[in-house]
Amino acid sequence: MTLEQRCLALGAIHDVEQLQERVLHELTELCGAQGGALWVQSERTGLRLRAWKGLVDKKTLPDSVEPSLVHAAPWLAGAALLVPLSLPSGEVAGLVQLNDSISGAFAEDLLHPTQILGQFAAVAFKNALRFATLQRQGLRDTETGAYTISYFTDYATKEIYKAKRYARAFSLVTFSIDNLQQLRLRLGPPASRQAQQLVLKVIAQVIRDADVVARATDQEFHVLLPETDYFGGLMFLRRALASVQEDPDARALESRITMGLTGGVATYPRDGEDFDELLVRCRRRMAERRGSLHHHLKLDSLPFWDEVELLLGTNASPKLPETQGEPSRRGKVADVLFDELQMEVARDLMREPSTRGLVYLGTPNVTASLPLSKALDRAPEGFAPHVYALGKRLDLDEHAAITPVFLEGDERLQRHEFLLWLGDGSAYALVQRRGRGATWGFHTSDPMVVEGLVSKLQAEYDLQPY
């Protein structure tokens, strides 16, 4: 491929992400580099690392580069060749670092062609950014201001490619206004439009700049959260649903007819490797939430301990209803289960110490001899999950991985034990009451029930949401 063909090829690309990789590809190929990295100028953050390939140690690449350090023309720095992407005006649009020439060292005669390619790349970036701005403005839904589904699908497909290439995660969150049809029939189309706009307004308030919201159908909305793990997606969903509940306009509308807002999260790559798979998983999780025990037992309005009592029931309580969601069971519990669970949850957290999660352990006495405490003694630096132990102070004042929450004189905690766990991709709760001779318990992997218990526990004892 001639230099001219390489330059022309760059000019023909209007997609910024695609252009980033193509620029890197052309320059590494032209120079026989075994590795390369690209920093691109962004409006607010200066030159930011956007792409890399081949033999580069990601940890050694700075996230940003000070534009004033960039030379006007390509230059050799040790074993690396640095190519500025400069516009004719002198403005720096980006910087490419090429390293480890396959022929041993980068020759001086590469400086000229890389300068030309760098200049073309700079112009191409400028054009691609303008094109992206136009695209963002043109591909919005006029009623709600959200992106159209065709733009969203295209964006998600590219995000999947990027996540695959750079071994990253991202989450897809779907929201559905389940009662939109009834709302339209009873209150008319303006109210239906208002419900859509309300939900989108609230979502827009809780998303980050990099997140993308789209309207899929009248009642369904998608949100793409780049570089977000499942737990991050779940926290976003909780925050968004809570914000809708707290919004005065939404409350006013809900007082007339319930909107039935439901959400579901799916994360790449754990839940699926393409957009359709992720969407199916999201919709399935929404269906599980609709069929959750939380709705069947109308647990929304109950405070934490009332819900615990209801869930535990007694020997005489009716059987738990069969639901379509994740299973829940109650009955006699082996005495060792609570200890075994603590050990196993701790091992799971220690296997993935950088993965976020939330664990609440409720026990009569917060002591250093708790299996969870012993198992997390060797938690590494940067241990990400938040683990709380609630109960009467005994001999555990502080712990590297556990936050003790001392609740003196709370009789309910003297009779009950619980373990609530929101993990990466699953949820689990065990609540149990120790009696004479037998322990009676309830346990579930129904995420809505677990999230409900977590939220109510946080409200009961003034604990932070996350």
Partner: protein, 504 residues
């Protein structure tokens, strides 16, 4: 010498070549002198000297133009021109002057030796010109570089066979251009660049038709210059690399390489098993210098490691490259870290499956002297160090209906599920792992489960599991290996069309 050799010295500064003229005449050469480029051109056309020494400072015609004019004239295109200069010859200039550049002041003996060499070569070329016979000789008498230049100058077509005590190679020429070369299993430029470094051996040129397919696309001059550069650089690089007999293997804990250079990617592919440096050099089709550079970079970045002596022993169940591939898959979407701990779900009960696994799987260390899960059928059983970079925990999940809420939380994120019993409850759990969590399933049958599963057939309820389900009946290590291989061979979708379109 039948006829006196004629040397043309083109130099405006007579003083600087006086000593050289005297020495050459003493040795029997006829020496002519031209004080500028134009006169030198006249002499060259009219007297056809054997060798021309052309000074860069010659007025009227510069050295590059002088060489081009001679090369474009069939009467003079075979006259070797050595350019003399007072400056430092750069690589760019050397490419134009195929006979090289002599820096002034020069030692008279060195210059006369160079002229002697060129004259011998030109005489050999004249002997070859128009000759359809096979030519044979020894490389000690006529170095390979010179022989190839002669064949190129005479635009010969045929095969040049070269032999040494241990190896035989061949270079195919078409109109004086190298179009292919072979040395053992190695072909193309890789073979040509290896051959041009040969100093000893015999050669035989046989005229014949050119091969149908040209593998090399370079002029002879370019190929020789590049070949010599490769030889020099290769020698320098070999000093820093492990000896050819040392073993290389992929570092299991190394990060995955995104979109590697084709040569680097090929080296990594070849290293899917531990290999000697020499083997890698032979197996990767790229020229040796590029392969060595890639190896050097991979070693310096810790992606590949070296071992002396015997091949790197494989881990208890996986080879280093397999561990690397499995880690890469497990780390997708997660921050990289040197040591990775993963889990395998054991579908079975503690008293049966747990005890069997502890007894039968070599290297499995129980988490405690008497793991509680052997009684309760719930929890971690033991840990297996697959390598320094990957450790596997075996976790029993109870299959009982009452324990169903434990399935998803404690099986999520596992590499796969190993089925060690054949009860309905265990198969229900396995089905959940296979279909709901999309984990690969391996059913350890016969000896692999200590006889707990007697049928070699895949249970109907487990057929069609998205990530695959298989029955392994040899031993439990083989069953685990099958499970782990399924873990990293799960299909991956390609890049979106819009992004692939640019890969021309």
């Amino acid at each position: 010498m039948a006829q006196a050799r004629k040397i043309l010295l083109a130099d405006a500064d007579l003083g600087s070549i006086r000593a050289l003229t005297r020495t050459l005449r003493t040795k029997g050469y006829q020496v002519q002198h031209a004080s500028d480029g134009s006169k030198a051109l006249n002499v060259a056309v009219l007297r056809h000297p054997d060798v021309i020494l052309f000074d860069e400072q010659c007025p009227l015609i510069d050295a590059k133009a002088f060489v081009q004019i001679l090369e474009s004239n069939p009467r003079t295109d075979d006259i070797p021109v050595v350019v003399t200069t007072t400056g430092s010859p750069d690589a760019h200039a050397l490419r134009h002057f195929r006979e090289g550049v002599l820096k002034k002041p020069f030692h008279v003996d060195e210059v006369t030796a160079r002229i002697d060499h060129l004259c011998r070569r030109i005489e050999a070329a004249r002997e070859l010109k128009g000759d359809a016979r096979q030519i044979e000789g020894a490389l000690t008498q006529l170095p390979l570089g010179d022989l190839l230049q002669i064949l190129a100058l005479n635009r010969r077509t045929g095969k040049l066979a070269i032999g040494s005590a241990h190896e035989r190679g061949e270079i195919h020429l078409a109109n004086g251009r190298p179009v292919n070369a072979r040395l053992g299993q190695v072909e193309g430029e890789k073979a040509l660049f290896r051959l041009v470094s040969w100093k000893d051996g015999t050669f035989a040129f046989t005229p014949g038709p050119a091969p149908h397919r040209a593998v090399i696309d370079r002029s002879m001059e370019d190929a020789l210059l590049e070949g010599m550069r490769h030889t020099d650089e290769k020698r320098r690089l070999m000093e820093t690399l492990p000896p050819l007999t040392h073993q290389l293997s992929i570092e299991p804990g190394a990060s995955d390489v995104v979109d590697a250079h084709p040569v680097t990617a090929e080296v990594l592919r070849v290293l899917n098993q531990s290999r000697r440096v020499g083997e890698v050099l032979d197996l990767v089709p790229a020229p040796d210098l590029e392969v060595l550079t890639a190896m050097s970079t991979l070693l310096s970045k810790g992606v590949v490691r070296r071992h002396e002596g015997a091949p790197v022993p494989d881990g208890p169940v996986l080879a280093p490259a397999e561990v690397h591939a499995l880690r890469a898959r497990l780390l997708r979407g997660r921050p990289p870290r040197p040591s990775l701990e993963a889990k395998v779900v054991v579908c079975g009960t503690g008293p049966v499956a747990g005890r069997w696994l502890l007894k039968a799987l070599p290297g499995l260390t129980p988490i405690a002297a008497d793991p509680p899960c052997l009684r309760s059928s719930f929890g971690s059983l033991g840990r297996l160090d697959v390598s320094e970079a990957l450790k596997l925990d075996f976790v029993l999940v109870p299959a009982l209906e009452a324990a169903r809420p434990l399935w998803r939380p404690f099986a999520t994120g596992a590499i796969g599920a190993l089925v060690l019993e054949s009860t309905d409850a265990v198969y229900n759990l396995a089905r959940f792992c296979g279909f709901e969590l999309r984990l690969p399933l391996v059913i350890a049958a016969q000896g692999a489960s200590g006889g707990a599963i007697t049928s070699d057939a895949l249970p109907p309820s487990l057929r069609g599991a998205p990530a695959g389900a298989a029955v392994v009946s040899t031993d439990v290590s083989a069953a685990l290996r099958a499970l782990l291989l399924a873990g990293f061979r799960a299909p991956q979708s390609d890049a979106p069309d819009s992004m692939m379109a640019r890969r021309t």
